[in-house]
Symmetry: C3
Amino acid sequence: MKKSLLAVALLGAFAGVAHAQTAVQIYGTVDAGVTKRTDQTLAIGKRANNTLGFKGTEDLGNGLKALFQLEIRYEPDTGTIEQGAGGIQRPLFQGQSRVGLQGDFGMIRLGRGLTAFQETSTAFEPWHGLPTPAGFQTDLQVAGYTSDPLGYPGNSTNRFSNAIFYNSPEVAGFQLNTTIGMKEALGGPYIGKGTAAAPQYVTGKEASTLPYSVTATYKNGPGALYIANERNAVESRLWSIGASVMTTPDLKLMASYQRQNQENTVLRNPITKAWILGANYTMGPGKILAGYGQKSPDGVAKTKQASLGYEYSLSKRTYVYADLSNKKGGVQVPPSINTYSLGVNHAF
Amino acid sequence: MKKSLLAVALLGAFAGVAHAQTAVQIYGTVDAGVTKRTDQTLAIGKRANNTLGFKGTEDLGNGLKALFQLEIRYEPDTGTIEQGAGGIQRPLFQGQSRVGLQGDFGMIRLGRGLTAFQETSTAFEPWHGLPTPAGFQTDLQVAGYTSDPLGYPGNSTNRFSNAIFYNSPEVAGFQLNTTIGMKEALGGPYIGKGTAAAPQYVTGKEASTLPYSVTATYKNGPGALYIANERNAVESRLWSIGASVMTTPDLKLMASYQRQNQENTVLRNPITKAWILGANYTMGPGKILAGYGQKSPDGVAKTKQASLGYEYSLSKRTYVYADLSNKKGGVQVPPSINTYSLGVNHAF
Amino acid sequence: MKKSLLAVALLGAFAGVAHAQTAVQIYGTVDAGVTKRTDQTLAIGKRANNTLGFKGTEDLGNGLKALFQLEIRYEPDTGTIEQGAGGIQRPLFQGQSRVGLQGDFGMIRLGRGLTAFQETSTAFEPWHGLPTPAGFQTDLQVAGYTSDPLGYPGNSTNRFSNAIFYNSPEVAGFQLNTTIGMKEALGGPYIGKGTAAAPQYVTGKEASTLPYSVTATYKNGPGALYIANERNAVESRLWSIGASVMTTPDLKLMASYQRQNQENTVLRNPITKAWILGANYTMGPGKILAGYGQKSPDGVAKTKQASLGYEYSLSKRTYVYADLSNKKGGVQVPPSINTYSLGVNHAF
């Protein structure tokens, strides 16, 4: 494709490009590094999700735009599509697959993507939602909650399929984000209060309620707040709040809290609470990340995590990183796990 | 990719692009909407096939061109590759995967794609071959016939794998299109006159005859005709004819008829006939689609379908749509099914 | 995408592209042809691997570059991702998935790709490593050796997953290439000296040694040499040497030899030796390829292969080809197999 883009561009010029404000943009991330976990062999792994995406926007006039986004997720260490529990391949466009319209009314999209809660909350987490063991999003910030309990085996747990996504415009610092899923049957089963032989939700069963996710955010100068409420297809409910503040242009402090209620699907101890404190400190091309948090399922041992990380930017698109993390408690074996990682992240 | 295309284009310019008339073109469609079927819950679904494709043409001089096309098909509501019966994933390049040469002699391609019959006939169907329940292609126009009976489970039924595709140049309004498949074994089994335990074609069995598909089309001013003949890998044969006419620049009327003979693989009632009448009426940015058709397997109850649709173009590449459809008879449960859908279609 | 590239490029220009030397390049190959093998039906097949890739390079200043490459491999005759033994789909980015840095020190990459041995040796094989039956790479040049014995079922056998790749700069004609895999468990099982019920390496077992691959190459005017040493995850070891010389600007002669030791995983006859002689002769747009080779597993019948091929270039990116080949001996049925193929190869 190298040499011929000009030719194509010139053809475009001669053919007239007055109404051609849209193009397919190809973008993505490749992140790979070396990881050592207390009880495992040295491994090649990732810190961030790896993406290869295709997106575009078309100007329809009168402030109206059409837009789409398709995002592949993959594992660079093995070359496969991103894999979930048990090595099961996730959907090709695991990142998202959405189409919609944007205008003065905000943005409305159809398809599959992160729920409003899952998308909003990562901005208040010190590793901004990265799936690395040093990050707090996957295990602590969402307290083990899953947005997609009835999805295909292996599916990621923080997205709605068959959903409608609405983001309001930002008015006086306020924004509203809403995701509504359908009751459509997907995968399953979901054992819940049942047994493996007689699960509470059998394979192919529809949701017992309309899944939804709503967040409101507020930004004012150096400060930001959010509040979130979500209910999934098996009627688990969660509330979450968070705040961040730039105390100086270089230092961002953040905190979040979450409460989850699984009354509909567990026999006892349905409440899980979690909180996280975090900081990001920028020093020229370098950035320090730090965080501490706890998850407290009622009646089960607490999980406590402390992490420290460093990113060094080689350019706006490429940085190297080092993370170290300790997690204690909960049901993990061994009871205390250290993880070290060192790698490179390249955006394109 | 946004900012750097110019840099690349300039590099191309300096390196000389005299022979570089080719480029990879990325194109596709995202179509998603809300669907309600009589006996099912409200769902997010598609009206059109969703594609992400890569194609290119190279000028070889003397009127000769090399060309290729690779087309991914996917489901935007779940982010997966397109799925066939039983939720089985289809090939990554389900749309097509072909390479070939084009010149004064016409176009010859190798690989996998729609058969000549399946490709030709959609221009004579009021929903131009879209897989929506309102359309007539999938069920009625091809009368339940499959071009790929020995393919992998889940494969689409209107393509040949391992095939040679030839399209003649258009001469005095006439064009000839031919697809010839190999006898190569693919998937299977195909039960046919056998039983599940002893299928007529066992898994991995080669075709018992050379599959082929031939169509001739004729265009003359506002009118167009086609005639098609196809024989698949298990010796099912079909004939199909169709016609369309633009009675005014805004109104297109169309009709098609098809007869299928499955003598080689069914014990009784091997003949199925189907016919469709359709109309497309354009009013500025709006377009009305209407159709009625019947499928008559001998000895089995007739299927009757009536559909009405409306498309409203927001631009040349984006339109919103609404369809309603009723299907009666055949072996479906319930015996009468209504389907309503509302959505957006964006091409890029 | 056609018309809008200029618009995008111009936007890029206005936005400033001083640091935007990088772009995603889309590239690939489509190769399809007709093949006839002594004991099989006429088939549509491939001569070369079929690729669709995405790659890019970012200039970080001071001679340092970030780079990535993601390469899909697929089968154009069926539209599927490339398939391994038993029709099992290989990883989406089977070609490679790597990210890394390049500078005065050479190039270091992380991810999955060809081992140093597998990549180096193909330049000394008359079909430059193409997987066609006429080529010698797949069966003879690597003597049935696999670099990835513990990988997922169906995985290609000449790559390391979870690996670090280092290529030195070329100094006075010398270059060093090193690949080091991790012990990370992937797939399996590997029967080895065990049985299907009790394999030597059970599923999910880690490598019993650190896999590595090292090659040194030397170029001097018309001549080139290489020497390679590799040890895989089940402790099989191989040595390989090769040489090539351009006797005239049109004639390249080449030879290679390889010795493999499987003591750790076979009960008897652990040594396999192989050698290949080859020639490429260019005549204007045409090129003749010829080769002869033998593989000698100790205690098992020799395999002998002779091949002749012809390529005719229609442009720098497109050629048509014809190959014929005979393979005798070994354990194949029938004992002598002829293969003929005729097709087109198009790069984009």
